[in-house]
């Protein structure tokens, strides 16, 4: 494994560990220092001073799912865009045009969703 590569990613890995560990250490310090005086009422879910009714975990709006899905599709597009942006200058014209077509196709999907009113919340 090349040394620079290893160094770079070791830094990222250690950052992940420190991010987790640092924040977790906050929790531990707080757990040691903070008073504990909870009563039976303390644990009740906050709902503007009224005892909560019904269950908290009710379903989302399906529209949120669609936005997440669009994001997924466009994220995949990003995965293709980055390598393309890296090399398209060195490749024949077909590479450039193929990405234009790719974008247009996905843009069509966006327009379709737009037309169907998915983007405008009814």
């Amino acid at each position: 494994m090349p040394a620079e590569y290893a160094f770079n990613w070791a830094a990222v890995g250690i950052a992940a560990i420190f991010g987790f560990g640092g924040v977790a250490s906050f929790f531990v310090i707080s757990w040691i220092l903070a008073p504990r005086r909870a009563t039976s009422l303390t644990g009740i879910a906050y709902e503007c001073g009224i005892l909560p009714t019904g269950e908290g975990n009710t379903r989302y709006n399906v529209r949120y799912y669609l936005f997440a899905l669009f994001f997924l599709i466009f994220a995949v597009e990003t995965v293709f865009l980055f390598p393309w942006a890296f090399v398209f200058l060195d490749l024949p014209a077909a590479a450039f045009y193929s990405m234009v077509i790719f974008l247009v196709v996905l843009f069509f999907g966006l327009v379709y969703a737009w037309r169907k009113g998915v983007l405008s919340w009814r």
Partner: protein
Amino acid sequence: MTVLEFMLILGAALFCLGLYGVLARRNAVLVLMSIELMLNAVNVHLIAFARYVIGTEAIAHVLIIFVITIAAAEVGLALAIVLRMFRNWETVNLDRISTLQQ
């Protein structure tokens, strides 16, 4: 055990776990997650080949990209179907849905 073999066994383990999930789980969302595991097992094999086996260098990488793409499309569509099922039958239990269908 070489690294290649380690990766291959790892991939095999992921694949079998995924397969077990697909067969044994009855919540549709969990089944989908298991399918994701299986796809990832394939990716692990591919990356191991790309690194250590002759003749598979960049092609394996490209294949992984396509696997990820297909997985994304599959998850989006399959979950939409799950949502549809849930709307129609108020459940995501596959056993129950197959009985309801009859």
